[in-house]
């Protein structure tokens, strides 16, 4: 098993100064250390406001961490090296609905990504887009569709296509299933599992839904107030949580599951 992404001592401080005389409010993320292996899924769980989304942004370069190192596939990424980072670590946003441009076709959304990041000519780009659309379970004709013509599940697939089109090594997904309905959610889970197996992607999955976390992840990382408080193999963390926050989070989920099985008798 090779380490795909290694994060060492990542620290990001965010300060807000509201008025002239008050002390600035400070949120500190980190220090964060973790590693993700090829073809494995790391899930990040935690309460609202524990810095999960901020971590995702720091990984893909949305915010610049003050300190720390990100090593991708054995090579250290410099903080300002946008090119490799954009290509190899891709982000799927929380609301893919709002993350797609409604005024242009799906084809040109994907084309834009290729134009900015690769040196393919027009013909190759078109071929690549078609190939990616098919890979995520859409049709070639969807090239000419607009956002509003697609259903929620299909929009989520487009978001996934946009992440996959550059053949990334790591995908960071911030609540990719939160806005989806149960049956469509299962489809997307299946799709992501398939793609991970085919391409050997490392997958960082940020979520509230512990049922799905338990199902798809290999290891889990629990965050609280910007720090990692616990991490380990999924089963280990779920069965023997060592910190109180984790235990609360997990037991409240399994309370509901237990009640369900009580109903079944």
């Amino acid at each position: 098993m090779t380490v795909m992404l290694l994060v060492k001592d990542l620290i990001y401080r965010h300060q807000v100064k509201r008025t002239l005389f008050t002390k600035p409010e400070c949120f500190e993320l980190g220090p964060i250390n973790f590693e993700v292996y090829r073809g494995q899924t790391l899930a990040v769980i935690g309460h609202n406001g524990s810095g999960k989304t901020l971590l995702a942004k720091a990984l893909v370069g949305g915010v610049t961490p003050q300190q720390g190192e990100i090593i991708l596939d054995g090579e250290s990424l410099a903080q300002n090296e946008r090119q490799t980072r954009n290509q190899d670590i891709r982000l799927i946003l929380q609301h893919s609905k709002n993350a797609l441009n409604p005024a242009v076709t799906i084809g040109s959304i994907l084309n834009q990504t290729l134009v900015l990041n690769t040196s393919l000519d027009e013909k190759d780009r078109y071929a690549k887009i078609e190939q990616t659309l098919v890979k995520v379970g859409l049709l070639r004709e969807h090239y000419f569709f607009y956002k509003h013509m697609l259903s929620d599940g299909q929009q989520q697939r487009v978001a996934l296509a946009r992440a996959l089109i550059l053949d990334p090594k790591v995908i960071v997904a911030d609540e990719p299933f939160a806005a989806l309905d149960p049956s469509v959610r299962s489809q997307t889970v299946n799709l992501i599992l398939d793609i991970q197996q085919d391409l050997g992607l490392a997958f960082i999955y940020i979520s509230q839904n512990l049922g799905i976390v338990r199902h798809i992840s290999d290891s889990v990382m629990v965050m609280d107030k910007g720090k990692i408080i616990e991490s380990g193999a999924t089963n280990e963390v779920f069965c023997h949580p060592s910190k109180e926050v984790t235990e609360k989070l997990i037991s409240s989920h399994f309370n509901l599951v237990d009640k369900h099985f009580e109903q079944l008798g």
């Binding site: 049956s183 299946n190 609360k248």
Partner: protein
């Protein structure tokens, strides 16, 4: 007598030149002190039902129903004033998105004080009433589990986290001491600890105050842990309805089964990273509804009979509308075929043998039928 009784509610929306049935013969009953869950995906018309109940439907949408009654009074033929009084005092609604359904320009405390009915503050002189209102507000906030009432009341909706706004919305709904609480997706995108708190709060209200709750959601985990009965909605049609216990144990409609399968937590022997069972395709849009059973194109067991709308059949308070119900291999399917061949009412045919089979199924849950 049921509190809220809806029978064959149909809502027609004009889209372009043609009329679309956004709700097609939906039936729903909420009894006194019952928690009924209304399950369905987005676009299945859950929120439309809520809007139809509270009367927030635009005039140009055509609404027809055999029954839409509140404690025996017909809500549709009622005068606006009378209906408003009922809405104000007896039915309370918690809307989907708490932060956007509160007034952003007024502090939370003021909003809650304003919604206290005048008849609750009649004691003493008028200058004492402000204090009384404040006391009612604080006790309500404590009741729903907001401990720092001062901090909450002085703030504006955007300044507090969404789970507290949700609790606040529940407090606001409870202020008039209603008999039924309609909660439209109250646990959406919440972490499990907060979700648990809200569910516990609702269960406690149901137990202590005998408050009936119509719990609209697609979170099956939440539903199965607290509700007594549930109604499953697909594309504006009720597909199955009955006790939660029965539905979970033996879903008769393929869609209900698909919904249950979609939650990985419900499956005991699911190996990690394996495929989840799921239905193909997505819920159709209102403009492209299939004829007959609306699940038809996605249903794994669909046959040519499914182009007719299946009639709703009722066995022991468990009603379903499907030509080929699951778990009824011998009786159900044969009956259904006869029904379509001879155009006989299904109800006559859902007779002895089918009922027998069903009773047998549920004996181990309920004990022998009396």
């Amino acid at each position: 007598m049921p509190l809220l009784d809806i029978k064959n509610l149909t809502l027609e929306i004009e889209s372009g030149s043609e009329k679309v049935k956004a709700l097609d013969k939906v039936s729903l009953v909420v009894n006194e002190g019952e928690i009924r869950a209304l399950v369905g995906e987005s676009g299945s018309g859950k929120s439309l039902i809520v809007r139809a109940i509270i009367g927030a439907i635009p005039d140009h949408w055509k609404i027809t129903a055999d029954r839409l009654t509140w404690k025996g009074q017909n809500l549709l033929s009622m005068s606006q004033e009378k209906r408003r009084v009922i809405m104000r005092r007896e039915i309370a609604v918690v809307f989907q998105d708490p932060t956007s359904s509160l007034d952003p320009l007024v502090t939370l405390g003021e909003q809650l004080e304003e919604s206290i009915p005048a008849e609750f503050v009649v004691k003493g002189n008028y200058w004492q009433r402000k204090k009384q209102k404040r006391e009612i507000t604080i006790s309500l906030l404590h009741k729903v589990g907001i401990k720092e009432h001062d901090a909450c009341m002085k703030r504006f909706p955007h300044e507090i986290p969404s789970d507290i706004t949700q609790k606040f919305m529940i407090a606001m709904a409870l202020v008039s001491e209603p008999e039924i609480l309609i909660a439209d997706d109250p646990t959406r995108s919440m972490e499990s600890t907060t979700k648990n708190q809200i569910l516990k709060l609702l269960t406690r209200l149901n137990e202590t105050k005998n408050l009936a709750i119509l719990f609209v959601s697609h979170d099956l985990l939440a539903i199965s842990s607290m509700s007594h009965a549930m109604t499953v909605l697909y594309c504006g049609q009720t597909v199955e309805s009955g006790k939660v216990k029965h539905l979970l144990r033996r879903p008769l409609h393929p869609y209900t089964k698909a919904l249950l399968d979609s939650a990985p937590s419900f499956q005991v022997n699911l190996p990690p990273k394996s495929h989840l069972t799921t239905l193909d395709g997505t819920i159709p849009t209102l403009q492209h509804l299939p004829i007959g059973c609306r699940l038809g194109p996605r249903c794994p067991s669909a046959r040519k009979e499914c182009v007719k709308v299946p009639e709703s059949r009722n066995i022991q308070n468990h009603s379903y509308s499907c030509h080929f119900p699951l778990h009824m291999p011998t009786s159900g399917q044969g009956q259904a075929k006869e029904q379509t061949d001879q155009h006989v009412s299904a109800k006559e045919h859902a007779g002895a043998s089918e009922k027998e089979a069903y009773v047998k199924f549920n004996e181990d849950i309920d004990g022998p039928p009396t």
